[in-house]
């Protein structure tokens, strides 16, 4: 197993490397640059800006510089000038000198918001997206799993159709519609909840519901399918045959066993949602990271594009590895290949 994990981690590094290269090439191939604005800047100003950000270097050099700033830790001593160049995500004080620090991981500055390092986005916006994502998945689970269980237990009855209907409703009503309606009803008409923002528990209710409801169908459907499968497994029949009470059979055996696939799905779902969701964040004016996936690309903010895609890639690859491992761990029938 440890060999399996080592190999997967090595592959993971390779995958991330390729993702950064592809992203880097693509983003420079796309027409327009960070300084293409609605009101064009003179050629000479663009040249000056390119020089300032080293965008006039050969692409390979730019890539190497960029990766160097992220990967190679540096030790800094003495009084440090405040600067975006010295903006590292990890700062460890070293014991041998008062001012010496080991600094690691610098994702560079944002070209669009000039006094802001990309690291700031990870420090300030990513945690908000992560909160939103985790709460969203919790809500999705709270809505989706019970609906799936009911639908599974009462297959092809009104309960089944109604339960799945509610879940599918969530996935079928676009968040672009659901979110404004929620805002209007609970914020404007009733005045119970704030319309926008993030931070106070009250502000979290509408966005997490909008997000969770839209994801609940996946879990509901999966739970239902899994319940149906497990209920016809031999050991359940055996349990029934032994004369166990139906309630106990359902709770102890069916429910627990049918949660396995559900949990393996929640992992990647979390990975996606924690990295941020554009629509929900835009409509509820939540300062999360999801917006940056789109705005960095439309604005050609190169370091932000690289940073966000890299984080997304890490989340996804990790989620896939973890799922593989967890899946094998839960279900001993699966071999590590």
């Amino acid at each position: 197993m440890s060999e399996f994990i080592t190999r997967r981690v090595l592959w993971m590094v390779f995958v991330l490397f390729v993702v950064t290269v592809i992203t880097f090439i693509l983003m420079h191939a796309v027409p327009g640059g960070p300084f293409s604005t609605e009101k064009a800047l003179p050629e000479s100003t663009i040249e000056q800006l390119n020089e300032k950000y080293n965008l006039d270097d050969p692409l390979v050099m730019q890539y190497v510089e960029y990766m160097k700033d992220i990967l190679i830790p540096v030790v800094m001593t003495g009084q440090q000038q405040k600067s975006l160049d010295h903006e590292y995500l990890i700062n460890i004080s070293l014991p041998f000198d008062d001012n010496a620090t080991l600094r690691w991981v610098n994702f560079g500055p944002s070209y669009k918001s000039v006094s802001r390092p990309v690291n700031d986005i990870f420090r300030e916006n990513l945690p908000i997206s992560a909160q939103l994502g985790v709460l969203g998945v919790l809500i999705a689970a709270c809505i989706g799993i019970p609906l799936g269980v009911i639908a599974g237990l009462k297959r092809n009855t009104v309960y089944d159709y109604a339960g799945m209907g509610i879940a599918v409703l969530g996935v079928s009503v676009p968040v672009i519609i659901m979110a404004p309606v929620l805002q209007y009803v609970f914020g404007v008409l009733l005045g119970w909840l704030p319309v926008t923002g993030w931070g106070e528990p009250k502000q979290m209710i509408l966005p997490t519901f909008a997000l969770g409801f839209s994801q609940s169908a996946v879990l509901a459907r999966l739970t239902r399918a899994s319940m149906l499968q497990v209920m016809h497994e031999d050991y359940i029949r055996t349990a029934r045959a032994k004369g166990l009470r139906e309630r106990r059979v359902v709770v102890v055996h069916v429910l627990k066993n049918s949660m396995i696939p559900v949990i393996t799905v929640i992992g990647p779902m979390l990975a996606y949602l924690m990295a941020g969701t554009f629509v929900v964040e835009t409509i509820f004016a939540i300062p999360g990271m999801g917006k940056f996936f789109v705005t960095s690309i439309t604005g050609r903010d190169y370091p932000v594009i690289m940073g966000t895609i890299l984080v997304m890639a890490i989340f996804l690859v990790l989620a896939n590895v973890i799922v593989d491992v967890v899946y094998a761990w839960i279900d001993p029938r699966i071999r590590f290949t």
């Binding site: 604005t37 609605e38 600067s83 709460l135 914020g187 300062p287």
Partner: protein, 560 residues
């Protein structure tokens, strides 16, 4: 049962992953505070030399007032950091006498107070002429790469060379005569230069603060400002919060702030409206899509303000691409656009149909009262005639033989609606079906400079209040913004002459000629309408209504 136990562990782990979130309640003081909104996404910068758009300039002006201020309603140039000025006889040298003893300040998050800053010896730091020289030199320094430098450069001796990396900073026509006397020399005498000297890029900045904090000096803990407001908080991409700066003495153009705190949020317009209706915001931009309802609603309509602004919506023809290399075809397309319908049924804000490019409220632009016959307007018959002439010129039988016409545009809601409306109008009036092609906005902008499409969008908002900014700066044959490569020596000559004349009436006359040449005789541009700014203001707020997109937040007040 092992599986079950493992599952339980997993669930537990997942629940523990849930981050603990503490409720952050923003404590509101007893003072007056306002919440407004401006645009989506983070501002580029609040560093005067690095700001780009009108929102950046709005924020910069609250913190770093310029020598002059263009009144947001009357558009007159007023004095701000300058208390008076003298002009040399040749009109090229301006000597500004600055407000004295205006301290550099910073908001102290621990004490919750705005504090005047002192130097190492404890002496107060005041805004001086040296700060102006530093700021202006920094703006022109190619290393700074200031987006607004090119606008200042023609009006300061030696600036163009210095900005191009050839001259030296010492040769610039900038001089700190004494602490509070700042002298600027221009290579030519132009009438509107006071407005230029008040541009957002032309502001003083604290050399010592920039020295200390480098490129992060505009963050609240590092910044030093002196205007009516000080920077309290900047949650990037979310909001900026200003507090009143009690040390700002106030001047003719820029008075002291009336409110104690002002928050500017960056969010989607339709979301702003819902937040406004829920009572969460004091002043917002009214989304054009909801104007019908706002006007009919008894409460909202009383809170709605619509003021014409200084921008202009137009589309241009690429005069190098067939069929628009033919002037008759260009005219036919321009005559075929029913501007009034576009305004009444599509944009809906009560905009003014544009007969020419420069909005009449721009200084020295032709006005509708004095020039009833100037410019172009919807005329389907003329459109047909011009089309026939054009086809004859090209030796074509019918409009079907024209080369295919594709309108490429940046995919925003307004432009998409405009393009679709124009498509219908052209089909109705000329029987020509153009293809539409939506691009992502940045791609579109970047293609404009290299290779504009047959028809391109040519909207403009002014940098300073003079017709020169619309005509010479945009449409002269060598202008960066003349994307259609329209080349008219006659036009160039008129606008060059008008720029340096001192008699306003003569200049006004010439600009009217230039407009007629550009939009009718040569039909290089197709003016559409002069837009408006629509805002909603809660009844307990008193404010001014900027026509310049640069708000005077210090004038806003909350009636309690």
């Amino acid at each position: 049962m092992k599986t079950v136990r493992r599952l339980t562990v997993l669930v537990l782990v997942m629940v523990l992953v849930l981050p603990t979130f503490a409720g952050v309640t923003s404590a509101q003081g007893d003072g007056k505070s306002l919440v407004t909104a401006y645009g989506v996404g983070d501002p580029h910068s609040i560093d005067p030399q690095l700001g780009i758009d009108q929102r950046d300039m709005t924020l910069i002006t609250q913190l770093f007032p310029g020598l002059t201020w263009q009144n947001e309603e009357s558009r007159d140039v007023e004095l701000a950091m300058a208390s008076s000025y003298d002009v040399s006889e040749d009109g090229k040298t301006y000597t500004f006498h600055l407000l004295e003893q205006v301290p550099w300040v910073r908001y102290n998050a621990d004490s919750g107070e705005v504090e005047a800053l002192t130097d190492d010896s404890g002496a107060p730091r005041y805004v001086t002429a040296a700060d102006f020289v530093f700021g202006w030199t920094r703006a022109l320094d190619p290393v700074t790469a200031a987006p607004g430098a090119y606008m200042m450069a023609p009006y300061i001796t030696g600036a163009a060379e210095f900005n191009a990396g050839e001259g030296s900073a010492d040769a610039l026509g900038l001089k700190a005569v004494d602490d509070y006397t700042f002298e600027v020399t221009a290579p030519e005498a132009v009438g509107y230069v006071l407005g230029i000297y008040g541009l957002g890029t032309a502001r003083p900045v604290p050399a010592w603060a920039i020295e200390e904090s480098g490129d992060v000096w505009t963050e609240p803990e590092n910044i030093a400002t002196y205007g009516p407001f000080a920077l309290k908080e900047w949650s990037h991409d979310e909001s900026i919060t200003f507090v009143k700066n009690p040390f700002w003495p106030g001047s003719e153009g820029i008075g002291q702030a009336n409110v104690d705190e002002l928050t500017i949020r960056f969010m989607d317009e339709s979301v702003q409206l819902r937040e406004f209706e829920a009572g969460g915001m004091d002043v917002i931009y009214a989304p054009a899509t909801d104007l019908d309802r706002i006007r009919a609603d008894s409460t909202l309509s009383s809170e709605l303000s619509i003021v014409p602004d200084l921008c202009s919506q137009a589309w241009g023809f690429n005069t190098e691409k067939p069929p628009f290399d033919n002037v008759h075809i260009r005219r036919a397309f321009s005559y075929a656009v029913d501007r009034q319908s576009l305004i009444d049924f599509v944009t809906k804000g009560g905009e003014i149909p544009a007969r020419w490019f420069t909005p009449p409220s721009i200084s020295l632009a032709p006005t509708l009262e004095d020039n009833p016959d100037l410019g172009i307007a919807f005329d389907p018959e003329m459109a047909q005639q011009e089309l026939a002439l054009g086809l004859a010129d090209l030796g074509l039988e019918s409009a079907d033989d024209l080369p295919a016409i594709t309108v490429v545009f940046g995919n925003t809601e307004l432009l998409s609606a405009t393009a679709q409306a124009l498509q219908v109008m052209w089909e109705e009036a000329l029987g020509i079906r153009v293809e539409l092609s939506a691009l992502d906005t940045t791609t579109y902008w970047s293609t404009l400079e290299e290779d504009a499409g047959q028809i391109y969008r040519a909207g403009w908002c002014p940098d300073y209040n003079d017709a020169n900014n619309y005509l010479r700066d945009v449409m002269r044959s060598d202008s960066l913004y003349n994307y259609g490569h329209w080349n008219s020596p006659e036009f160039d000559q008129i606008v060059d002459e008008a720029r340096l004349l001192t008699d306003p009436e003569q200049r006004r006359e010439l600009y009217a000629q230039a407009e007629q040449l550009m939009v009718v005789d040569e039909a290089a541009l197709m003016p559409l309408y002069w837009p408006i700014t629509a805002m909603l203001t809660q009844p307990d707020v008193t404010r001014t209504y900027a026509t310049t997109h640069i708000e005077a937040y210090w004038k806003w007040d909350l009636n309690q």
